[in-house]
């Protein structure tokens, strides 16, 4: 690729469009982590071979000076996450917007021959709506996409993340140019404040105000940090953005840097996201080559350099002060605030630290204006929010909706309904939604019509967090879920402050008592009391919110807790220690298979006689259940 020597964005865009207009069809293969795991790369390779076999010309990158109209040109490209992970690998064919789902490498020849050459649609590769059973042709028809409002994710899944020209042709870096050449730092802070953008990482602090605080700090050296340490289990919005549109994130960082007067930035990415690391690094290299980043950006006299820092596996590093310690090469432990990062941040200098999604929204605000952005959303929560929709729901994947959308819309209309443990859609299955990961809480049936925004969720004891939305069906034990999160935070507690280090440990022990049948009413009271102490007395955000999953389930699922405690009974039969295992006398034929296999000799009974389990000896390991061919062992799920 030749370097774009003088950064004339309009010229780059014009050339690109001229080249794109000569393309007969554009085939976009989703190359997000999800689709790659399902074999997207093999599909890509087979499509490439099939195009050549069909005698057409294929380009993986648009050559700007090719004038060959004798053959039909096909532009084959990979893209970032298109969002519909459950249906991967996805292949999107433009300009018709035909979307094929679950494509296998064997399908490549047929796709080229029929859809590309003869303009036919291959019915069997279309998405089948699980509710109505009808086939939908593309993103414009599939309810999962139709009901979303993809602004921040807009170009994600359309542009090739590894091609800076495509991003520029889609309007990229124009906002950064405007920020460096036309606007003053105060203008930028004011526009962002006016847009009502709030931090998407969890806290929801107004971005414009944060920038303004850092801008006014007198210092020669300042930093911008992009927080891509998306540690919440069940969240992958930031990963998808960094993989799918890394240049947008860089552009957001450049604008932030201009607004506060910084000339250096760090992108902190989790090491669990190797593809995101790779794509961010490539984007930075290309931006340097293109003259978008580096010395004298756009000839403005300002310089800007960005580095990628790979995390090393610590959830607490998502906390801003801990993250900065980690960049400095120390243990990632949080510091008391104040001083805030705006005053004393990375290497002691004023620092703005924003979440990936927040930064990705910024170029849009400068491109289209604050009033365009704040027309979306509710009074105090402006714009759109991406959610990672996962768990027991038909359409798992990445979605983006305006603030104020109800849970019902998300779970039933976009998500396609709740599924049972076998993956079938059920109508009565909804139990709860866990939102905001280990810092968040649960929402239940009564909250289905609550408009989702920052303040409504806080009032319900949950939080938007980074946006992980895990749907749970009626077969999920909520005490187990609470224990799962407690186990997570207890493991991830950095150990600096006592309330979090010891409190989470005690809470986990109390939860273990409950699910293992040792609990009394006192356990329950103590759990709530310890939870409140941890919440009040911990040093950082991780500790302060660690008890939320427990405290929220205690309120919403009190009966379920009490069943475990008073009657030693798990209503969903998930708690191993509380299961009562027995042999159904109607079904047992006395084959002795279970008795022979039982590792603790808890089963007795003669040949062709009814067998019995001695509950006092039984360890509930489940071997008898597995070996019984007559389904006579009952009590396991």
């Amino acid at each position: 690729m030749e370097t774009i020597s003088t950064v004339d964005l309009k010229e780059v865009a014009r050339q690109y469009e001229a080249a794109a207009s000569r393309v007969h069809k554009r085939i976009v293969v989703c190359a997000g982590t999800g689709c790659m795991a399902n074999g997207a790369l093999q599909v890509y390779q087979s499509l490439k071979e099939a195009i050549i076999k069909a005698g057409m010309q294929e380009f993986t990158e648009l050559e700007l000076d090719v004038h060959d109209d004798t053959k039909k040109t096909i532009h084959l490209t990979g893209s970032g996450c298109q969002g519909f992970c459950a249906q991967g690998p996805l292949v999107n064919i433009l300009p018709e917007e035909t979307m094929y789902v679950k494509v296998r490498p064997e399908d490549a020849d047929e796709v080229i021959e029929r859809t590309i050459v003869r303009d036919e649609i291959i019915e069997r590769l279309l998405y089948v709506n699980p509710v109505s059973g009808e086939r939908n042709k593309g993103q414009l028809d599939i309810p999962f996409y139709k009901l979303q409002n993809r602004l921040v994710l807009g170009e994600c899944g359309h542009v090739d993340p590894e091609n800076i020209r495509e991003y520029i042709a889609h309007g990229g870096y124009h906002a950064a140019r405007k920020a460096f050449m036309e606007l003053s730092d105060i203008d930028i802070c004011n526009t962002v404040s006016e847009s009502g953008l709030r931090g998407r990482g969890g806290g929801g602090f107004p971005t414009g105000r944060k920038w303004n605080l850092t801008r006014t700090e007198p210092s020669e050296k300042k930093y911008v940090i992009c927080n891509g340490d998306e540690g919440d289990p069940g969240a992958f919005m930031d990963r998808s953005l960094m993989e799918g549109n890394p240049h947008r994130v860089l552009e957001g960082m450049m604008i932030a840097a201009r607004a506060i007067g910084a000339d250096e930035g760090y992108v902190y990415v989790r090491l669990e996201y190797p593809l995101a690391v790779k794509r961010m690094r490539k984007a930075i290299e290309d931006a340097l080559d293109a003259g978008v980043l580096g010395e004298d950006v756009f000839g403005s006299g300002h310089s800007m350099f960005i580095h990628v820092m790979e995390g090393a596996g610590a959830f607490v590093c998502g906390e801003e002060t801990a993250l900065m310690a980690s960049i400095e090469g120390k243990r990632g432990m949080p510091m008391p605030k104040p001083p805030f990062p705006a005053q004393k941040g990375l290497f002691g200098k004023p620092t703005v630290i924003n979440n990936v999604e927040t930064l990705a929204a910024v170029p849009l605000i400068l491109r289209h204006g604050a009033s365009w952005f704040n027309q979306h959303g509710t009074t105090n929560s402006k714009g759109t929010k991406t959610f990672a929709l996962t768990g027991h729901v038909a359409n798992t994947g990445l979605i983006e909706v305006p603030f104020g959308t109800t849970l019902r819309e998300i779970v039933y209309n976009i998500g396609g309904g709740v599924t049972d443990n076998d993956g079938k859609v059920t109508h009565e299955g909804f139990n709860a939604v866990q939102i905001g990961g280990p810092s968040g809480g649960c929402l239940t049936e009564e909250d289905l019509d609550l408009p989702l925004d920052y303040d409504n969720l806080i009032a319900k004891g949950a939080m938007i967090g980074s946006g992980g939305l895990v749907v749970m069906n009626k077969q999920s034990c909520m005490v187990q879920i609470a224990r799962f999160f407690m186990n997570f935070t207890q493991n991830e507690s950095c150990g600096k402050c006592v309330p979090c280090r010891e409190g989470t440990k005690q809470m986990l022990a109390l939860l273990d008592d409950i699910i293992e049948g040792r609990a009394t009413d006192e356990t329950f009271e103590l759990l709530e009391e310890v939870g409140n102490v941890v919440k009040l007395a911990s040093l950082c955000g991780l500790g302060k919110t660690a008890p939320s999953p427990v405290l929220s389930t205690i309120v919403k699922f009190k009966d379920e807790y009490l069943q475990h405690i008073r009657y030693k009974h798990c209503p969903t039969n998930n708690c191993k220690a509380l299961r009562s295992i027995s042999i159904d006398p109607e079904k047992c034929i006395g084959c002795t298979a279970c008795a022979r296999k039982c590792p603790v000799k808890a089963i007795s009974g003669d040949k062709k006689q009814l067998h019995v389990i001695d509950a006092a000896i039984c360890t509930k390991c489940g071997i008898c259940f597995e070996v019984c061919k007559f389904d006579a062992v009952v009590g396991f799920n």
């Binding site: 999800g34 990632g332 432990m333 290497f347 768990g391």
Partner: protein, 186 residues
């Protein structure tokens, strides 16, 4: 800088005396990594990451070496190495199997996968690596592929919607590759 280099040399010489060739080779890589990172203390984490990639774990003598080269207390380097989950002070197997235990994977039965792997490989929550140094099984926090839950990663390869049976298939597949490798070598 001079002082640091000097110490490095002394350390190398000390090591060379005991096991000449092996240790010289061993430390050569560390030296290169530290040089590449300009002896910068702030780059301790990238240094440890690169060292771990080269050695597959962080041997104690290497940690001491790094501390000396960067002119920092060994305790501080040790503190960082033990703080982050990614760093391992123990040798890991040839195949590192990571079972995702994020929320989505958890509700879709990741613990069943872990049980299967543990029982098939004779491992437990305490014992992570098989005696033949072939497999290491770890439960890890969210890998961000929740749409495919439950997820398992073997070295770099991601497997989605993994069932207990698929787990066994993957293990068999690896064993077969290893066997044919062994035959080829013989």
């Amino acid at each position: 800088m001079k002082y640091k280099r000097c110490l490095c040399t002394i350390l190398i010489q000390a090591k060379v005396k005991t096991e000449p060739n092996k240790n010289l080779r061993q430390f050569q890589q560390v030296i290169e990594i530290i040089e590449r990172n300009n002896h910068d203390k702030a780059r301790l984490i990238p240094i440890l990451q690169e060292v771990q990639e080269a050695y597959r774990f962080l041997p104690p003598q290497v940690l001491t070496y790094i501390a000396t080269a960067l002119n920092m207390p060994v305790a501080e380097v040790y503190g960082v190495a033990t703080f982050y989950a990614h760093f391992s002070l123990e040798a890991k197997g040839k195949y590192i199997i990571k079972v995702c235990d994020g929320t989505a994977c958890h509700v879709k039965g990741s613990s069943r996968l872990l049980d299967t792997l543990h029982s098939k490989l004779g491992l437990s929550d305490k014992k992570h690596t098989t005696d033949d140094m072939m497999f290491t099984v770890e439960a890890v926090s969210c890998l961000g592929a929740c749409g495919l839950a439950p997820v398992m990663v073997v070295n770099e390869k991601v497997y989605g919607e993994v069932s207990a049976r698929k787990c066994e298939e993957v293990l068999t597949e690896i064993r077969e590759t290893e066997n044919s490798l062994a035959i080829e070598q013989a």
